[in-house]
Symmetry: C2
Subunit: 118 residues, 2 copies
Amino acid sequence: MRIPILKLGNYLLVSIQIELDDKTAVQFQQDLLNMIHKTGSTGVVIDLTSVQMIDSYIARVLGDVVKMSELLGCEVIFTGIQPAVSITLIDLGIGFRNIKTAMNLEQGLEKLKQSLEG
Amino acid sequence: MRIPILKLGNYLLVSIQIELDDKTAVQFQQDLLNMIHKTGSTGVVIDLTSVQMIDSYIARVLGDVVKMSELLGCEVIFTGIQPAVSITLIDLGIGFRNIKTAMNLEQGLEKLKQSLEG
């Protein structure tokens, strides 16, 4: 089970619409980094609108993928974080430090464009 | 197993990155029509870049989804049709009659915009 990654111009779009188990999350991490490398994308929007729950392991994998992508020269924005997910993230003391967010996919793409194309 | 449908402004984006079995294809048909209805989207881009093979049943389901979407007032464009898939479609005598296509997701979105926004 892989999470589809869409290429749109210089950006990648990901919409996580399944319950993320540990294996899928790690597979996604690898797939996304490979795709960034292969396409030379400068930005990624990861949409979490359909993610209702998140645990500490998944939060860490997602947090790591941001740092790893940045090392490749690619900016990541999370969109559509649900109230329950935001509560869990803060309660777990994980948060997404220094991580950019937006309400939805369109606004995430807009934010990336502003940030990367000035 | 469901195919994720992404909402981007007035459009929906779908990238089919798994082997489509009959059940998944029918589920996708239902999901897409529900999503068009729910979001009031005016256009859909269905990217088939990762689809290496297609059979007559799947081709029919995809062809039907275009006609069904049009009934809802929504235009569909297929992108990234692989050479092998195009050969199969023509060999099977199915083709995608009167169906709009484009090379990739970006061009598909561009074509939708031109067609719908003039």
